[in-house]
């Protein structure tokens, strides 16, 4: 493959609980306009659109991408939608990447939005992700699904609830520096412990919020960027990998992936690192935005990214390695724990590392970052996407 693929524009909403001033397509348009302005392009300059949208039921419109066509200016243009659950946003960036890498297009927009705050029953919707045969009769939801990962991780490596609280404190303090983050108030370990249990061992403060807002990015071919002398950062690694749908197959005997860990995420990082030529992530990666909607899942994500040995992430986090100013800041934006507009959450991960390696992250800039990694998780901890972005 000749010719790289660059990011030339980024737009994201200031995420909030509700956006009663804007309809769902209005939010998509808001992000699209911000990204086009950032790229100094108008809609005519876009050749194709990848629409980022996870479950329809979350926005309450079936095939809701259809009403988003005009919001992204796709009339009579190439347009398709991607859905890999929570990983949708990063999969959409990857899909846009393939458009350019294939040589089919020079300039591609990916955009989406979510209004999770308008869904009165998000855990009810999310229960419907499980199969109607064996699992849906159980009270499965995304919170207790990952609480069960926490239980296994605690058993395997000795993580404590205090370790989990430290993730919350770190990410909230970083979100306080990011004007687009949803939960921006700093907190303390005591406050996390004082919050009520949702699904043991996950407490309210260990959980992400339900956010409304949009995100969009413009990708372009190297020749397009060079010919116009544009400012860009580069996508140098892309990977996806999945594991079994059945949580109960990630335990017992003879399993491949342990529900304590993020096995397919580590395989996924191996793919994107190989493509980017990264052999020693702890030395070569400067900043990471890792999809972790609950505090405990940041640990196994850090380990899957090769930034810590299995089970070592809690101790390293305690030492300050993953905070802004530490060795490799993780979720300098505050991460998913502070902002979760599901359809674009994983796109925000890519957007944030792109801003970091671009030196445009503002108050939460990691100094000197040149190589960043982003990840997204979807389904029942099933689909994983990773991207490497370099200055």
């Amino acid at each position: 493959m000749s010719g790289r693929v660059g990011i030339i524009g980024i737009g994201q909403s200031a995420f909030r609980s509700r956006r009663d001033d804007a309809s769902y397509p209005d939010l998509v348009r808001e992000a699209t306009t911000l990204a086009l302005n950032d790229a100094k392009l108008d809609l005519d300059g876009i050749e194709a659109v990848v629409y980022s949208l996870s479950p329809d039921a979350m926005v309450g419109i079936g095939n809701a991408e259809r009403v988003g066509v005009d919001a992204v200016g796709a009339r009579n243009k190439r347009f398709l939608r991607i859905n890999t659950g929570g990983a949708t946003g990063i999969s959409s960036v990857a899909a846009a990447y393939y458009h350019v890498a294939a040589g089919a297009c020079d300039v591609v927009l990916t955009a989406g939005a979510d209004k999770v705050g308008e869904c009165g029953d998000s855990q009810t919707v999310l229960n419907k992700i499980w199969d109607p045969t064996y699992e849906r009769q159980l009270p499965l939801g995304t919170i207790n699904m990952l609480a069960m990962s926490a239980v296994r991780y605690m058993h395997k490596y000795g993580m404590t609830e205090e370790d989990m609280a430290r993730v919350v404190v770190k990410n909230r303090s970083q979100a306080a520096k990011n004007p687009n983050a949803h939960l921006r108030r700093e907190t303390t370990i005591e406050e996390v412990f004082a919050s009520r249990y949702i699904s043991w061992p996950i407490k309210l403060f260990d959980c992400c919020p339900q956010s409304s807002g949009g995100c969009a990015m413009v990708l372009a071919s190297e020749s397009y960027i060079k010919e116009r002398n544009l400012d860009a950062v580069w996508i140098t690694g892309v990977g996806h990998c999945s594991e079994t749908y059945y949580i109960g197959d990630r335990m017992g005997t003879g399993f491949t992936a342990d529900h304590a860990d993020a096995y397919a995420l580590s395989r996924c990082f191996a793919r994107s690192y190989k493509m980017a030529g990264i052999t020693e992530p702890r030395k070569q990666v400067h900043v990471a935005e890792l999809y972790a909607p609950f505090s405990n899942t940041e640990f196994h994500s850090i380990e899957a990214a090769g930034l810590a040995d299995p089970g070592q992430a809690p101790a390293m986090l305690r030492e300050g390695d993953f905070q802004l100013g530490g060795a490799i800041p993780v979720n300098a934006s505050g991460g998913v724990l502070c902002t979760n507009a599901i359809a674009v959450t994983a796109m925000v991960r890519v957007a944030e590392v792109a801003l970091q390696v671009w030196g445009r992250a503002g108050g939460h800039q990691a100094q000197g970052a040149r190589v960043g990694i982003a990840s997204g998780n979807g389904g029942d901890h099933q689909f994983f996407g990773t991207i490497v972005v370099e200055a």
Binding site: S54, K77, F79, T84, G85, A94, H240, T256
Partner: protein
């Protein structure tokens, strides 16, 4: 699409109608996948990536790709889903191979009939701001399109009836076991009389795509994608002239440019066009450059697009015979691939070198995709 690497179709499996409850949806997808892999002469170990498409509201699953993933070999593999349309999975799979990053892709779409009312599921796609209170299921949007076309072109009813007869005749030959029996016709929506659209059936379809180096290493028979285009109409019906198909014209332009087709009327030996209603097949004749509307009457009467005509359209019988709603678009592409590969069975046309597939999805053909397939050197058509 001018791409870096050529992309070929080397395996196809079409289940245009599944008539029993022996299998769960997951098991059906497992079966269609195994058939496609077998048809391509490879195993799941040879598959680098997968793209699938299902519709959450039809499936009754909040993220359809989750349940499907294990069935199609998604475990420990790279899998994406394009819930906008079955044919978009093909587009995405082709782009992935064309990027040079993948040697093979498996593409799968499906359409069950487990929902109590397909119409009810479809009406949820009307936005809650302006349209949810209207009875807008897909058949209603097709009826609105038919209505717009009837107003624009005199004498259309008779042509529509002839197209229904042509496609059902083809269907009875192509899939005699499936097309016979208690096949239901869709409920009436004026101006579509009962019988002018088929009720939904369950179905699934899978294709295997491969890169030139994979094809030459394995001496696979291949149908090369020589052109591919895709485009969308706007979201609100009121913003469209339903008697025209500008997005299909745009998609055709992309595909023909890449395939270097200047005279579509004489460039193909076979075509499969989306025909949720016969009016859509007519509209596609024009937008694809096969016949402008002024000539429809004559071309329909002289059998140009009949089984023995110059360009047989929908030798499979189309969706006017078998209508697994969400995968009808991808099935059009799969049918043409089979024709080009010489694997179409009962409805194989002899000597097919180049075929045209048109896939449409959504309200009144919102999403339009065009694929031109050409027989590879190794490809042997019977």
């Amino acid at each position: 699409m001018t791409v870096k690497a050529k992309v070929g179709v080397i395996g196809v499996s079409i289940m245009p109608r599944v008539m029993d409850d022996r299998r769960s949806l997951e098991e059906l997808l497992f079966e269609v996948t195994r058939q496609a892999l077998h048809n391509a002469g490879l195993t799941i170990e040879d598959i680098d990536g997968i793209v699938v498409a299902g519709n959450d509201q039809y499936d009754g699953r909040a993220i359809s790709v989750m349940a499907a993933s294990g069935s199609v070999g998604g475990v420990d593999r790279d899998i994406l889903s394009t819930p906008s349309a079955g044919e978009h999975a093909f587009v995405m799979g082709a782009l992935r191979v064309a990027s040079g990053l993948y040697r093979t892709q498996l593409v799968v779409a499906w359409s069950p009939t487990e929902v109590g009312s397909m119409s009810e599921a479809q009406r949820l796609a009307a936005d809650p701001y302006f349209h949810r209170r209207l009875p807008l299921d897909e058949l209603s949007t097709h009826a609105l399109q038919a209505s717009a076309m009837l107003a624009a072109v005199p004498g259309l009813e008779a042509m529509a009836e002839k197209i229904v007869a042509k496609n059902r005749g083809n269907g009875a030959h192509a899939y005699p076991d499936l097309a016979s029996g208690e096949l239901a016709v869709a409920p009436q929506r004026w101006p579509l009389p009962a019988g002018m659209a088929m009720a939904p059936v369950a179905g699934a379809v899978a294709l295997v795509l491969a890169s030139p180096d994979y094809v030459s290493e394995h001496s696979s028979d291949v149908a090369w994608i020589s052109g591919m285009g895709w485009a969308t109409e706007p979201g609100f019906l009121g913003d469209r002239d339903l008697a025209q198909a500008p997005a299909l014209q745009a998609a055709a332009e992309q595909a023909y440019k890449a395939a270097e087709i200047t005279d579509p009327g004489t460039s193909f030996e076979v075509a499969e066009l989306s025909d949720a209603t016969p009016f859509q097949e007519l509209l596609a004749y024009e937008a694809l450059g096969l016949a402008p509307r002024a000539t429809w009457s004559e071309r329909v009467a002289d059998g140009s697009f009949g089984a023995n005509g110059k360009l047989p359209v929908n030798l499979s019988g189309g969706s006017l015979t078998l209508n697994p709603v969400f995968c009808t678009g991808l099935i059009r592409i799969a049918e043409v691939a089979q024709q080009v590969l010489g694997r179409a069975g009962a409805h194989q046309k002899a000597g097919v070198r180049t075929g045209l597939a048109h896939a449409a999805s959504g309200p009144a053909m919102q999403y339009q995709t065009v694929v031109v397939l050409r027989r590879g050197e190794q490809g042997a058509a019977s």
